[in-house]
């Protein structure tokens, strides 16, 4: 449930669901996200131009020429969210090559975590993850939670250019760089799979908030010959 609603500037409503990061809170954020998305699609509410779900917040952006903070706040407060909605969340499987030329930060991780590469891979690939949110750059999924033994801080100095497809970890989270971009996550491999497809207008992001994601390892040969 939304604990507190405030304004973020004059064109957005800031819905605060709490300060912790866990699946229960995030699922509530995603329930609101799906519910409001549907009302926008069905033209039951006007003026909302964007929804940004994250771990424990939902930001609702609106067009100030059409509506205002008070109206959107009242609208959100009036919603009764049906928790039993099936959100069509999907299970997604993503291939990753972890050869050293793609897994850029294994030496750092081995030193910081004090476990070897095989153990890191075993723990990483041995779990299904939950997609808390998608964003920062187009299609980038924020996944969790990692096994406690492979949680590590960000790089002290972020890379100016993370290669496209890089699979990274930091703290309890994993993500995928869908475009070449600056970034500070520890890179353990690279995926040849298209995670963001701007030609797919209906569903450009492969991983969406609420989806379950598992990774599997591929060889360099499989990586190089990947064909979608």
């Amino acid at each position: 449930m939304v604990k507190n609603i405030s304004n973020l500037g004059d064109t957005a409503v800031y819905c605060d669901f709490g300060s912790e990061v866990n699946e229960t809170i995030n699922e509530s954020v995603i329930d609101y996200f799906h519910h409001i998305s549907k009302l926008i699609k069905d033209k039951k509410i006007e003026g909302i131009i964007n929804l940004t779900p994250s771990y424990n917040k939902l930001i609702v952006s609106f067009d100030l020429t059409v509506t205002n903070y008070k109206k959107i706040k009242n609208f959100i407060e009036s919603l009764s969210i049906n928790k039993n909605i099936k959100n069509n969340n999907q299970k997604v499987k993503i291939p990753v090559c972890c050869d050293d030329e793609y897994g850029l930060d294994f030496s750092r991780l081995i030193e910081k975590l004090n476990i070897d590469k095989d153990k890191i891979l075993e723990l990483y690939f041995g779990k299904e993850y939950f997609c808390y949110m998608t964003g920062f750059i187009a299609g980038m999924p924020f996944l969790g939670d990692l096994n406690e033994s492979i949680r590590c801080d960000r790089l002290e100095t972020p890379r100016l250019k993370m290669p496209k497809g890089s699979v990274g970890i930091t703290e309890q989270f994993a993500n995928i760089y869908t475009f070449e971009s600056p970034g500070g996550w520890n890179i353990i491999g690279n995926t040849p799979k298209k995670i963001f497809d701007d030609k797919n207008l209906d569903q450009p992001a492969l991983v969406n908030p609420g989806d379950k994601v598992s990774f599997y390892q591929i060889t360099k040969e499989e990586y190089l010959n990947w064909n979608e």
């Binding site: 771990y55 930001i59 750059i137």
Partner: protein, 317 residues
Amino acid sequence: MNKAYFEILRAGVNTTIQDKGRNHLYHIGIAVSGAIDQRNYILSNRLVGNNLDEAVIEFAYQGPLLKLKNGKINLSVTGDVVFKIIRKNSNIENGICYKSYILEDEDQIDLISTKNTAYGYLSISGGFELEKTWNSYSINTKANVGPNNGKKYSLKDKIFIKDYDLQKVKETKMNYREIPDNTIRVIKGTNFDYFSTEALNNFFDKEFSVTKLADRMGIRLSGPMLENIVNTNIKSEGLVRGTIQVPADGNPIIMLSDHGTIGGYPKIGVVVSADLDRVGQLTPGSILNFKEVSLEEAQNIFKAYTEDTDKYLNENN
């Protein structure tokens, strides 16, 4: 007859197609994009008699040099731009912004540079022959979405022009004057109380300058260090245009149209909607100061700003 187009003889620093922007995609990480200065974008369309949501060319600092092929068009330039029109017979006319010009086949327009604005806009009567992606013509170079494969224009690229009946064209002019004002009004951010009293006093009392790290994503400022007394990181959450984030180094960053959709730095404030055009146009080295306003004041300021824009739009009717 062959289709009319602009041939790019010099690309300029950051030349893209922009419009009102692209909505309903924040949740997958795609920002709104759109013209940084929405008012000058709209005015440029009005000057050539277009619908106000037609696509225009946006350029930054050094603009493009364009040669018209296979056509005759009416165009206008807005912003604070030095430009020339080079006629086919080599005659050169110095261009004046907020005025429309007829460009004949093989004439060129040289958008030499912007002066006191970072961005300038070039509109043509009828608009460009482009396809919309997710209901917008805007080029988003971060997600490679939009015309030209989502990339800024390069030398020798062509920008095609829609067929348009030039009989309808009348030359127009607008008496537009931007009143210089370096005060940017902000509403308190959601992490306002993360900052020390001294930091908050500095934020509203001291001057900041725009650094060279300024682009369509955002602008970094330098000024008094804004001390954070709670936590220099927050759990990543959504951002909107105008959000002022303060990373650990204490220097504020203002988010613009191509911003990352989520961020993990505390938000000290949000620029009011009415001042976003002005903020986006600040050039490196500009000095600014922040002034706090309430939500209600921000809404009134926006209404006044919109009415002021309408005044210019109605000038030529």
